[in-house]
């Protein structure tokens, strides 16, 4: 075994690498030092994390982990100094990079990739974990949902002292609470239930016996109030609920958060039921960490948006509304939110197939784009798989003469803006790397700050 380099020296050297790579303009330098540290001395992560006097908490989910973690940060920030990987660098290397910049932080707050969670949890030994949901996502990269769920079960079994904050509405995630200290959250508002499970619903068969669950209410994908008619496996009792939910289209949402600590009305600036889930999870974790109900409400109400997830950018006399889409469940919620607000007549949809987007683009055929098609005058299909995306909409019922196929993101953005009347808003739905590229293009024109500047 190689003797560890003295940590202070190592950290200083690696921070310098980060600064250099930032100067060199290599994508913000957010993970390069972490990658080096991870390579040179994997154990350093454990040692750095152990310096946090209040320990660490981890946030993971297929959808909403960036937003939930940012909400937790907003709630806790007034009272605790936090180290947070806010730019979404959520693999071991990204977390290592954040640990290199601990400064005087007291608490570590880490958003973690679903597949990286076991490794990160083993090293960091978190005091609490927020586990939001597991949806089908990038099968070419993560494998089947059951595999990720099995890894999570194993990881939780080896963390007997950590407090789990889990979404009880997700059968796989809710089940992790069994035999563990846990706080279970969920939605309790059948008025908002969908009439039927969506096409993309994943965990719809009983995880014990394989029988299809009966849903008293299905909210987002397979999230809801389920019970197996054969063996009785059901949603666990909820400790924290969201009730009396009001959705105000794209303008926000409100709900009553009811917890053992008390009840509070929360008004969110973010739209959609999926963001109510994010806020509910974040609030539950914050309560577990000892935050007061007023801190929770105030933090959630201050929160505007996590990087690139839901963003409005002024571009001259027009506005860009950007909603990240990356898997069927998330895209369905984006579509639902758009249609319940002011359904757009022009949209730019960007499909890339880089590794971070998923090489396999078949997921777009599992998204219910049809409600969007009804109101569309014009679609600009863009990204490295623009033609495939155009086909999805064409076979979804959009006349081909209404579709512009413009693979270049910059040209597509300009085409979309040209089709948007002055004073109007252009809706853009990009996959992950397309979102990064579009943000860069817009930033290059001076309309928004680059994320590593705002995330510092």
């Amino acid at each position: 075994m190689r003797p560890p380099i003295p940590l202070a020296l190592e950290s200083a050297a690696l921070r310098a690498v980060g600064a250099l790579s930032r100067v060199a303009g290599r994508g913000g330098g957010t993970t390069l030092p972490g990658k080096l540290l991870w390579k040179l001395d994997p154990g350093a992560i454990d040692r750095l994390a152990s310096r946090l006097e209040q320990g660490s908490v981890l946030v993971s989910a297929t959808n909403g982990k960036t937003t939930s973690a940012a909400m937790v940060a907003e709630i806790l920030r007034p009272r605790v100094r936090i180290a947070h990987n806010s730019s979404g660098a959520n693999l071991v290397s990204g977390i290592a990079s954040t640990l290199l910049h601990l400064g005087d932080a007291q608490l570590g707050l880490f958003e973690v990739d679903e597949a990286a969670l076991p490794e990160v949890a083993r090293r960091i030994e978190p005091r609490a974990l927020l586990l939001g949901n597991l949806f089908r996502d990038q099968l070419d990269r993560y494998g089947e949902l059951e595999l990720v769920a099995a890894l999570w079960r194993e990881a939780m079994a080896s963390l007997p002292d950590a407090e789990l904050v889990v979404n009880g509405d997700d059968p796989q995630v809710g089940d992790l609470a069994r035999g563990h200290r846990a706080r279970v959250f969920g939605v309790d508002d059948p008025r908002l239930a969908r009439p039927a499970l969506q096409h993309a619903a994943d965990s719809k068969y009983c995880l014990r016996c394989g029988t299809p669950y009966d849903y008293a209410a299905a909210y987002v994908g397979h999230l809801g109030d389920y019970r197996c008619p054969k063996c009785g496996h059901a949603r666990p009792p909820l400790d924290v609920t969201a009730r009396d939910i009001e959705l105000h289209g794209l303008d926000g949402a409100a709900f009553t958060l009811a917890a053992p600590e008390g009840t509070v009305r929360v008004k969110l600036a973010l739209p959609g039921l999926y963001n109510v889930y994010n806020a509910l999870g974040a609030g539950s974790l914050a309560l577990t960490l000892g935050a007061g109900l007023d801190d929770v409400r105030a933090g959630l109400e201050r929160f505007s948006a996590a990087f690139g997830r839901f963003e409005r950018i002024e571009i001259g006399d027009r506005r860009l509304l950007m909603l990240l889409v990356k898997n069927p469940a998330g895209a369905n919620e984006a579509v639902r939110t758009l249609v319940e607000g002011r359904a757009p007549s022009v949209a730019v949809v960007a499909l890339n197939d880089a590794i971070a987007d998923g090489r396999d683009v078949s997921w777009i055929w599992d998204v219910d784009f049809e409600p969007l098609v009804a109101g569309l005058d014009r679609l600009v299909a863009t990204g490295s798989r623009a033609a495939e995306l155009a086909l999805r909409f064409a076979y979804g019922g959009l006349a081909r003469e209404r579709i512009d196929v413009v693979p270049s993101l910059e040209a597509a953005l300009d085409r979309g803006l040209e089709l948007t009347p002055a004073g109007g808003e252009l809706v853009v739905l990009p996959t992950y790397t397309a979102m990064l590229a579009l943000r860069k293009i817009v930033a290059g024109r001076g309309h928004v700050s680059n994320y590593w500047e705002s995330a510092a």
């Binding site: 070419d140 059951e146 719809k204 394989g210 299809p212 396999d360 078949s362 495939e388 086909l391 076979y395």
Partner: protein, 245 residues
Amino acid sequence: MRIRVGHLYPDYLNIYADRGNIAVLAERARLRGHELDVHAIGMRDPVPAGEIDLFYVGGGQDREQALVAHDLVEKEKPLRDAAEEGAAFLAVCGGYQLLGRFYRDVAGDELPGIGLLPLHTVAGQRRMIGDVLLDCDWAGQTMAGFENHAGRTILDEGAAPLGRVISGFGNNGASGAEGCRWKRVYGTYLHGPLLPRNPWFADHMLAEALAHAGGPTELAPLPDELERAAHEVSAQRARARGGKH
């Protein structure tokens, strides 16, 4: 003409956008004045003997595939009868494996198939993932799609593959063959989904179904510009993998 489609286990086997394939068949039928009439055939549902022109079987996660395998065996007789009297079948990924004789997992346990296609599948350690390009010389066409499977499928001696692998793994990464066809039964690992990117094959399946329905099998050509563009991107991705792997 009404084309009757039996979609087997749509609630269980739908992992790789199988409804995209169905949507393409429906729209391309409609544009030629035909109507696609899709029936779901689920667990414990009877197979309407003689009333289906095209059976569709999609792919599922391992768990879902195991759930349906035993039910499918119960349906073997009517499905075999339908295939023998000329009904068309399109089976993708997991559905393709289930039309073979069996699937043997890493522990050596066997999941039964119905043996409609002359093949069997054995689980391997490494998943075979990526874009694939095939040469389908029997049709004078290429086929582009995406594969993601741990199973190695072995065709019986003399069985006809769907295509020869230009780039990608195919049935097992070694034989150079992908998919299988017998009578009007077609099986493949390619999703993507398959039919939007390969309109010639969508039309071929429609023609096979029309032949069973007793209708005219000629289909007027469609412009297919987007389809060709999507095929080309997918084919480029496959070629960029270089060689077979």
